[in-house]
Each structure stands twice: as structure tokens, then as C-alpha cells.
Symmetry: C2
Subunit: 802 residues, 2 copies
Amino acid sequence: MRGSNMTSHVDGPLTPAELNGIDAWWRAANYLSVGQIYLLANPLLHDPLRAEHIKPRLLGHWGTTPGLNFIYAHLNRAIIQRDLNMIYVMGPGHGGPGPVAASWLEGTYSETYPEVSQDIDGMEKLFQQFSFPGGIPSHVAPETPGSIHEGGELGYALSHAYGAAFDNPDLIVTAVVGDGEAETGALATSWHSNKFLNPTTDGAVLPILHLNGYKIANPTILARIDRDELDALLRGYGHTPYYVEGQDPDQMHQDFARTLDTCLEEIHQLQHRAREHGETTRPRWPMIVLRSPKGWTGPTEVDGHQVEGSWRSHQVPFSAARENKDHRKILENWLRSYRPEELFTATGAPVKELRRLRPEGTQRMSANPHANGGSLLRDLQMPNFRDYAVSVERPGTGQIEATRVLGQLLRDVVAANMQTFRVFSPDENNSNRLNAILEATDRMWNAQTLPEDDHLARDGRVMEILSEHTCQGWLEGYLLTGRHGFFSCYEAFIHIVDSMFNQHAKWLDTTNDISWRQPIASLNYLLTSHVWRQDHNGFSHQDPGFIDHVLNKKPEVVRVYLPPDANTLLSVADHCLRSRQYVNVIVAGKQPQLQYLTMNEAIVHCAEGIGTWDWASTHPDTEPDVVMACAGDVPTMETLAAVDLLRSNFPDLAIRVINVVDLLRLQHDSVGPHGLPDTDFDALFTTDKPVIFAYHGYPWLIHRLTYRRTNHGNFHVHGYQEEGTTTTPFDMCVLNRLDRFHLAIAVIDRVSRLKNVSSGARETFQNALIQHHQYIRVHGEDMPEIKNWQWPAAPNSSASSE
Amino acid sequence: MRGSNMTSHVDGPLTPAELNGIDAWWRAANYLSVGQIYLLANPLLHDPLRAEHIKPRLLGHWGTTPGLNFIYAHLNRAIIQRDLNMIYVMGPGHGGPGPVAASWLEGTYSETYPEVSQDIDGMEKLFQQFSFPGGIPSHVAPETPGSIHEGGELGYALSHAYGAAFDNPDLIVTAVVGDGEAETGALATSWHSNKFLNPTTDGAVLPILHLNGYKIANPTILARIDRDELDALLRGYGHTPYYVEGQDPDQMHQDFARTLDTCLEEIHQLQHRAREHGETTRPRWPMIVLRSPKGWTGPTEVDGHQVEGSWRSHQVPFSAARENKDHRKILENWLRSYRPEELFTATGAPVKELRRLRPEGTQRMSANPHANGGSLLRDLQMPNFRDYAVSVERPGTGQIEATRVLGQLLRDVVAANMQTFRVFSPDENNSNRLNAILEATDRMWNAQTLPEDDHLARDGRVMEILSEHTCQGWLEGYLLTGRHGFFSCYEAFIHIVDSMFNQHAKWLDTTNDISWRQPIASLNYLLTSHVWRQDHNGFSHQDPGFIDHVLNKKPEVVRVYLPPDANTLLSVADHCLRSRQYVNVIVAGKQPQLQYLTMNEAIVHCAEGIGTWDWASTHPDTEPDVVMACAGDVPTMETLAAVDLLRSNFPDLAIRVINVVDLLRLQHDSVGPHGLPDTDFDALFTTDKPVIFAYHGYPWLIHRLTYRRTNHGNFHVHGYQEEGTTTTPFDMCVLNRLDRFHLAIAVIDRVSRLKNVSSGARETFQNALIQHHQYIRVHGEDMPEIKNWQWPAAPNSSASSE
């Protein structure tokens, strides 16, 4: 007997009718969940269960599902009774059948996918398609109405929930945290998100820690520590925990309903005190601990082993239902224990009683527009980025911190979009020179403050916590619910969220093929404090490989930009902030740097993404002897310096300088939408001349992008070769052979007509390297002529900045 | 006046002489730390401070350093008084000057680096080299005696500390957790490591949460929540916290000494109860919360801004000391406030009083052999891996789960090395089919247990927590202190520790150049539940990109192996477990798979790392028409199936089959030590024939490794193209064009002499694809002829398994 037996009389807030309704919903959702995992046909068991009714491959996760369904039923009662605006983030997203069942019961599923109708045919399709080729994935997925959270990789439920709640004062985000997930690093620190929530202008997050007891094969830590220890932990996280523990459905329904009422009332009161009475104490938000058996209502025992309440319920509790008659009988009894005849009409529609537990329209969690954020998305109010332009009287002059200039643009983006744009950073906003943002807003902070603190406020729009995971999760949640954001991070440490990026890129990739999912704003990264200028730190802070990682994802969802100076950075940032459905990676240095392009030139250059810099080339009107390409601010400077060296030594040498801003322009146009056709590529890089390519990151990435190009055999890429330490900026270049002298020598070595005339120059350049090396090791800084190097005034006949 | 003033009389355990000694040590360490950050010359201030005494580039982190020094001084007293074996893990490893100063005071530095002697010349060198080109990094680094922990990237202090403590019953690992670091995900979950520590057979970890108050620019969360909330959090983590808070040195010395005594006594008692009285309750281990000002003892104010006790102390508190006379005066006063004349003799040696606080020999934390783990490392007792061989009567038969076979080897490695080998997994040991290990040992678990639990014990050697970060951190700590280990993980989710891998690989790379660092055991990953067989999950679990990430690090420290079957996996695993100073990545499936090589063949093949499989080739004695290369178990199977298809259709076609186990064999020998010379590579892959390469991961990696090879223009790589969902194994191959039919079609399209004769076969293969597609979508499983496909009995004249 599964579910409420209707004969017990447990005290509680639910009337018998309410209890019956909730329990019926729960049984219906559980029935539909088991059906999805096991059945191919005979969805309502109108016939005795036969082998051919059962899927040949049983794939999915039962263990967490009944708990997710139990909560869903109760949330629905609360939504209706309290007229709530709520979405539901399921950390244990492996329990994919649960929310699919719920949205089918709510009607949303059939509205979204009409072929999966609310009848027996539709139910059969619902069952068939689950974890089935050509069907839907086994997890909560982009395909699932009402979801902003995949849950395949664990750890991000709470940070997603907070991201969704920010700037949505009327929204309550219920977030189930699995006790397995709770062991992950990302989840463990995300509890502290409550110090970054403004009770007045943000919504609320209601965490439900689901103590299911087991992971795949092990018990969970939080289910196996003393109650007082668990209670202390959750209070230490800043919450007031309430406990619902047991397995008797009647008792659990009453307990959960009472507890949920308590929590929602408390949330209401806390918000009321903040909003109406200006209460500024950080609230101790309520949360629920739900301790229930893993695989609750599933078979108690199979083949002599405990299943319900054990790790054996994690995936498919028993897998021989097709071949083994006894297992099949267990399955049939299990399904029938939910009394489907009470839940569905003869034609397979949910009975009327179930529909009473269904909120209307967009109040259904499966139809809440916040969970299809693109439908709420509005364009950012963008200031004109041209207004922030840096004056560049002639190329290769100035000492500008590009990210500091960007900070001014971002400041005004924040100011113009006070409810829909936030910036995120792991305590690096100012280190990354985005200080100007703090002229328009503050850092969000809802813990204690002291007089010496800098720009902390309860309504700040700068989100800083020393957790890349939490920044990323907040931002994802914010974007997925239809807002905009910007994440600045040290280049090396963005690898901390490699895996989160993967999941978000996969989400975007999948939603590109889901017509009802409206496009969301792009996830914009600024990677700065980059490999070439990690002056205070060193080797541990030097890794430009996030670009490589990103480019393993589909070219339809990723973009990488390497603006060489401030004006190009402004142009790129403007483009990224307006874009949709991408992950944009912008790499730009924060140190004073030469500037090259006026704003007009920058706009043209960035629109092309790649281009010849005639003013920097020598003899630009002739066929070049060599192409010197560059991508990234430091490589650009070193390339120009190398051109300068070569020009003085070989006045006849024709050097074509190419600068790459949009890295994917290098790719073939058949591979990705930004790729150049071969004709254009060949026109730029020639088909037979040596190409000395100075690249910001690991050099092989350029080869990977260009290996099919006609002239690839002549590409010689200089980049980061994993040589690093705490040293001077120029020495970093030398260690990795990216410096001007190595580049110039590479030209000499590759241009055949220089071979006979160049030994003097080659020696000069090599001696210069030695000289610099010695100077740096004695003086501890770069030689002045390197530090203050600028592009010569009128380097050749074609030099002109406009 | 900095440090103890000797006139106050604060009650406490320290006698005036002890207090004086500790304070003197602390002042000396602080003096040497400031000297490292600022001074080029005049180390003892025998002259008034002049501009040229000051470094031109001031780089480093002062803020955390005095706290680290304070703790060091107190730990030394305890080591001497209690005869302890202790190492010190500094989470805030940015404070590099601290441990360098301490090891110089202890004499270890001069023993390790004789040129940095304990005199005025040595002190000058000590100062000069810090954060200086050609000198030492600004963080605690491999170069620092006594360190196993870089601390540049934050988050791993506690997991490293626990890894060091495992199986070292006499060791106490003091681990300082910075309050910034405490916000990271990895750190936040690693507190739960105490549920995995055996008080009888493991050592102890003494965490010190250092509430410095500020990060780079923001306050820290844990310093800004109420004391009762913090206390609850730490008790919730399973600790008994003790607090030392303040800034008056005398008071703080007495308080810290008393608290440290309490903690060490408690550790002693807890261990005694477990070891002598068999007490099995999980101890609530003591820990210390040290709340002290950031930049403690630094300048109170500079240019009207608070410095000590504020975020402005984070790096260099003021940076114009060379140019600005006032700043220089502040610096000089600051340095003199430590009263160097009391601390160092006129010739620059530490005064005798300081030497009293110096433990002897290897009891010095800077000389403790556990912090130079290679010096303690002993070879594993290895069973003969040949004894686990799978019988392969002929190639391409059988259905063996390779990782299950590996589990048997690992079981016996565990059994034979019960104190020096552990296996680590994020709750996936059995999911990854390494079940056999549990025949020899259990899962380590020191929280509550229930009867249905499976193989949990307080002395288990299988370390399972659902945190890849914690697994990785434990394993690193275990390896760095001279033991061996093995980490099995779902392939996709190993990206969670991308950044931790980076740091460990950098550590190995750096230590390769440090002669006194003895080689440590390699970090061995088994990546399984891989992209091609994530049957229960789907797209979120499909990412083979860790290989790409790993290969961005130096070829001297990374290895990637793709054994195609069980015997090759055994051979590879044996090799990896015996190796030193590498990160070894082994990718192998857990699903039933065909077997190809007998053990003898496997040994030969793995020793070469790459080779022609004549038995699978057609007309192996002639020049091939096409090379079909494969790397990985699924690609190998599909390649052989394609050969089979092609052979029946084109009996005259000469196909050479090459299998790659050691991926870096593809690299040029000038790039990495495992790379093949061009002659060997050309002999295998020809210089002009088409190469159809079926690869486990993202296809461009093969291009990256081979782009300089003669025949690269003819390489056509099939691999994972980021197409995935929950579907059948064969459908996954089809989606990514890695299946036999696509491979066969690729051959047809690339071998010119087939162009005229092949249209029928091509059409047949394409029709087969359609047929399979339809079958799979109807039946939900692969067609039997695909599922049960085996290599034909005697495919051609040369087929033979020996």
C-alpha cells in the first residue's frame, strides 16, 4: 500500500480532502515516473504486464524522484493557497521523470509538446520517450518545461536559485539540495549566498535539504552526522532549519504541509519587515530538512535485498523486469500500489481531483516564465560605447589600462539597467581595474560592515565572493531567468569553473534546438590579470587554457575575443553585451598598454574580427615576404616591436601585419559561423609565405584552428609554453619566446632571402636577449627601452592612423 | 612599538622568558618578511635607508604573513616541549615571505641553499631573491623548504592536510585556512574530511581558521557573521572550536599558547582513547579560530588611510618607498620597530635566544621529511599484473569489463600496501566497476553506519566522498608526503578539478628542477564511465576534454593512455603505478567490450605505445592503400568493424590498422620525450596515404599532435563532436560519425582507386546507417548484429593472435 491510506487521522493543517488531493497527486506523479523508467506500452495497466510492455534498456534514476514529486505536490498547494510566484530548482536533477510527470499533470507538457497529450496515447508517448533514442534525456533537462537547472552535474542548485531570485522581489525559488550534491564544493560554499541577498529588492530562496540517505553506493555525510551537528551546520550557514522526517505518508504530508506553511509565513514576515519597516538585520531565512527514504514508495525488497531506503534505489531498482517474471510481478504490484484507476480516467486523463492541485496558467511551476527566461528578456539600455573612446593620436602610443576604460562603460551599463544587470567577480573587481563601476553602485553585502569597508551596501550590483563557482552559478541563474550579466576573473582561475561552463554551454547548445525556449543573454567573461602580467604572483597564476577548453564546445555557442587595446575592448564588450545565446570570452590585460586604433578604426576592425594593419606593415602595397600575425595585447605589442627591429635592419623586407580580435575567424567557414572562407583566409595569410604568429595562449590552438588552411605548413606560432615564475613582464615573453627578438629571429630564419644577409642582425637580436636577461637579473626590472617602447612616429611611408 | 613590550604582565602559560623568545622569533620572522618584500640591500639597516636599498618592483603579499609567522613561532614551542612530529600547511600561501623567513631562522634554508647563508650576505641574498627575476616566487612554492602546498590558488589547504595525515599516525598537520580561502567551494566542503580520518591509524589535522578579516578588496564572510553563527558552522563541520582574538601581542601570545596547548592535549587524549581504549566514537577534533588584524604589526596608517587591519595590507602596503621619502621613512620605522639589533648579531646571524625556539634536525617543520615526500617514498609491492590477464583466444572476441579486471589488480595492490596506497573516487568506485577492491578493504567511513550499508569501515582504504575536489586534494596530499594512490572518476566530471590538476602539474614541473626535492609517485587517474557509454545519463555526462586540458601542460609531466582492452589496461596501470613525477591519465570503458590482445601481445604493444595490428590489417605485407588508426576502446571496435565491412566489399584493398595506446607517441620527439621520430612515424602512417583516425575524444587533438608530420595533410580524424543525449551506444557513435559505417565511407571517399568502383558499397553503408537509425528509434536498443559484433574468425590470411 503506497501513499496515504485515508484511514489514519494524523493531526495537521491539511483537511482530509487536502491530504487526499496531495497524496493523489503524489501517487500520480510517482506512477508516471515509474512508467517512464519502465514501460513501453500498456501505460495504464489495462492489461496484465507482459515482457513486451517493458523497455529493453532500463535507464534512469528512481531514488530521488519520489521526494521531488512529494515536494512538488506540496508546493502546488501553497502556490494556490497563497497566490505565489514560484519556481522549483531540483538539485538532484537525475530525477528527470519527476518534473516531466508533474508538468504532464499540470497540462504544460501537452501544451508544449502536443503529441504528448493528456490521454492514454499521450501517456504512452510520455513513457516511451523517456531515456529513449530520439526521446528525452534521463535528467531534468532544457527539454523539461519549468526547469532552469539540468542537475546532471551536481553542485549548482543553490547558486542557480539565488541567481534566479536576485531582482525578482516577488519570486520564491524553492531549491532542493540533494544530500549527495551537498558534499560537492560548489554547493557547500553556495549556502553563504544568503549574505548577498537583499530581502527588499530580491526574492526569496527556500532551500530544502533532502536527506535521501544514500548516493550511488555510499551513505551521505549529512544524513550520518548527529542531528545537533547538522542543525549547527545549517544555522552556521545562516538559516533557521525545520525538520520533516519519516516515511509514513499521512504523517509526512501533514508535517511537510505544516512546515512549508511555517517557512512561507516566515519568508513573508522577513520580507515584510525589510520592505515595510526598513529592517536591516540580515534575516536567518528558513529552510527545510526533509529526511525520507531513498526510493520512497518503491519496492521494499527485491531478491532478498532491501531496496526502498537503500542505495539500491539509486537508479533502476531492479532491471530484469523484461526477462524475469518475478521482477515483472514486483513491477506490476509496485505500479498498481499507486492505484492508477483512482488517478486517471479510463482514457488516461488526470482525474478532476488532481486538477484541483494545479495552479492556473503561468502560476504553474512548469509554465512559470522565469523558467524560460528568454521570454522575459529585454534588451539592455546601452550607453554609446563610442563615448568612452580613448584618444589615440597615432598607433602604438599611450599607456592605458584597457579594463579600466571598460569599467567606465560597465559603470553606465549598470546605472542604466539597475534591475536587470549585475557584474560578478571573485573579489577581483578592483584588482581587474573595473573600479569605475563602484561610482554607480556598490558591492552587494548583507553581513556586518565596518567603517573602513569600501563600497559595501545591501543593494549593490557588484557581486563579489571568493568563489568562482558561486559567481558562475549566480550569473547562470540570473541569465537563465532573463537578465544580463558580466563576469570578470583572473584568467588562470576561470578553470575552476571549467565544468560549470561545460554544462552551461551544453544547455545553450540544446536550447538552440528547442523552439519554445527563447534566447537568453550571453554569458560574458572578461579574463584579465592574464598570463603575461601576473606580476604579484607567478607560475600558479599563469594559464591561458580556458580558451582551449571553451573551443571544445560547439562553435554555435562560443566566441573568443582578444582585443589588443582599449577601443577594441569597448567595441567587443558592446557587441557581447548585446548578444544572445553565446558564451563570450574576452581576454584583455589590466596593465598600462600601448593603444593602436582610434574608435572608428576599432569598430571596423572588430566588425571584421581580423584584418591587416597597413600602418604597421612595411611595403603594404606589395606581396609580403612574411606575414606577422598577432592575437592578444602583449603579442600585438611584441609583434610591432619586432617589425620595428626588422624594418631598421632590412628596409626592403615586406612585412604584412595581421591582427586577430575574433579568434574564430581563423576557423574554416564550414566548421563554424564566424570562420573565414579559404579565399579570404588565403588573401590575408598568403598561400606560401611564412607566417609568424604571436598568440596570447598555448600556441597549438592556432594550429588546431588553421590546420586545413592552404598555407598552414608555413605557420609558426609563438605563445605560452608553460614557462613561468615571478619575474618581469618582458622576461615572461622571453621565457616563452614571444618577445620581439625571438619573433624577429623567427622571421630571419623563415624568410629564405634573408638567410644570406641576416647573420649580423640575428646575432644582434640574440645579443640583445642576453643583454636584457642580464639587466633584468641585476636590476629586477625591464630595461627602460623595453618598458617605454612605443611604435616609432612615422615608421614608413604608409603609416597613418586614419 | 611592535611585538611584546616586555613590561606588561598578562597571565598565561608562557613564562616571561618563553614569551620573550616567541615574540622575538615572531619579530625576526616579520622583519625578514618585510625585508624580502622591500629590500635589495642594507638588510640589517646598518645604514639609514636609501632609495637604492629598495627594490624597483615591489611584489608580494604582506597581509597574511605576520599571522603565518605568529603561528609558526608558537608551533615551534609546542614541537619542542611536546616532542612533536609536525608539518605546517599554509592555505594563504600568498604569504610566501613567512615560511622562507622561518626556514632561514631554522637554518634549513641555508642548508638547502648554501649561498643564502645565515649571515648578512645571506640575508641580503634572501631579500634580493624574493619575487625577483631568477629568484624565488612570491608564494609558498616548491622551492620553499617544508612546504607541500603552493597556496597560489586557494581552496586546498585542508584536503592537502588530511591527505598528509592519512596513515601517518604520529604526524600532526597544522593547516591554516585563510578566511578568503574559506569561501572557495573546495575548501568549504573539505571540512568534512574529518569523517574520513581514523584516529587510530591516521595522524591528526589541526585546522586554524585565520580570520584576517579581508580579501583583496572585500571583507570575508566568516569574519562578518556573528560569533554564534560562526561557532555553529564550525561545530556543524564536526569540530570543537577555540578562539584567540585580539591584537595586543602579549595577550595574544599567552592566549594562543594556552589554546594551542589545549588543542594538542585534546588531540593527544582523543588519539589515546581511540588507540589505547578502542573508543570508536568519531572525535570532535579541536580547531583554532585566530582573529588578528590583516597586516598585523605593519604600518597603522599611510597617506591618511588605515593600513594595518584593513584590505590595504593585502599586498604591498605602500609602494612608493623607493621614490617617496615619506614612504621610505615609514618603511624604515616599520622595520626598526621589530628591533633587529636584538634579533640578529652584527654579522647577521640569528641571536642565540632565537635558536632556542628552533627544533632540532628533521623536527624542524622546514626540514620535516614528510614535506619532501619523495625522500620517504618506497616502491609499491606490486603483484604481477600478468596474473590478472584475460584469456583472449582470438582477437576481437569476448565481452569483458576492462575496469572490472583492473579492480582485481588494484585489490591486490591495496592488500600488499596497506599503509601506503589508497584509492579515491567521488562515490563511483563500484559504478566504475572496481568492486573487487572491496574484497581486500572497505570504504573509509567514520560517521554513523546502518546495517544495509555496504563495506564501510573505520580503516577502509577506499576514499569516497562526492567531491572531486576533496578526492583530488586528499590524493595530492597523500602523494606529496611520499605515498601512492589511484583516482577513478567519471570522465566528464574530472573537469571539476581542472584547476587543481593545473596546480599539481605545475608543482611537478617545478620540482623536476629542484634537486633536493625527491621524486614522488605519479598521480594516476582512471577516467571511465566515458563519453561513449554514459547510458544512464546523457549529454551532461559526455565530455572527453580533460585530455586536451592535460596536454597543455609540459610533456615532461603528463601522460595519456587509451588502452583498448583489459590486458592493455592492466599493463598500462602497472606502468603508471610504478612511475614517478607524472600525471597519468588512463581512459578506459567499464562496459563489456571486445578483447584483442593476449597479455604477451599487450605488454609488447603497451611498451611501444603505438603499433600496427597486422592481424587486423588486410594485405599487411604490402604498402597500404589506407591507414586506419584508432585510439580508445570504442574507436578501436568501430575501426575493426569498418575494416571487416571494407574487406568484404573490397577484397583487394590494403588496410593498415594502427592502434595507439600512449597518445604522446603521436607527438614529435623534439616536443616531448615520448614522441616518435619522424622516420618511425612516417613508417607507420606512410607519407602519402589517407589516414582515417578514429579517436576517443575531440578530433582536433590528433591534429594538434600531428600537424608537423609529413603525412598530416591526409589525416582525417573522427571523434567526439559534442553531439550527445541519452541514447544507445551505437547511436552515440553515429551521431558523432565515429561508427563503422562512417569510417568505411571515409575510406571510400579518400582512397582514390575506390572512387570508381565504390558507389554500390557506399550506398550500402549509408543505407545501413538509416536502417540502424530506424531500428534504434523503434526498439530503443541497438540491432543485435551491432551489439554482438565480433571480429570474424579468420578474417584474412594473416590473421593470428600470436
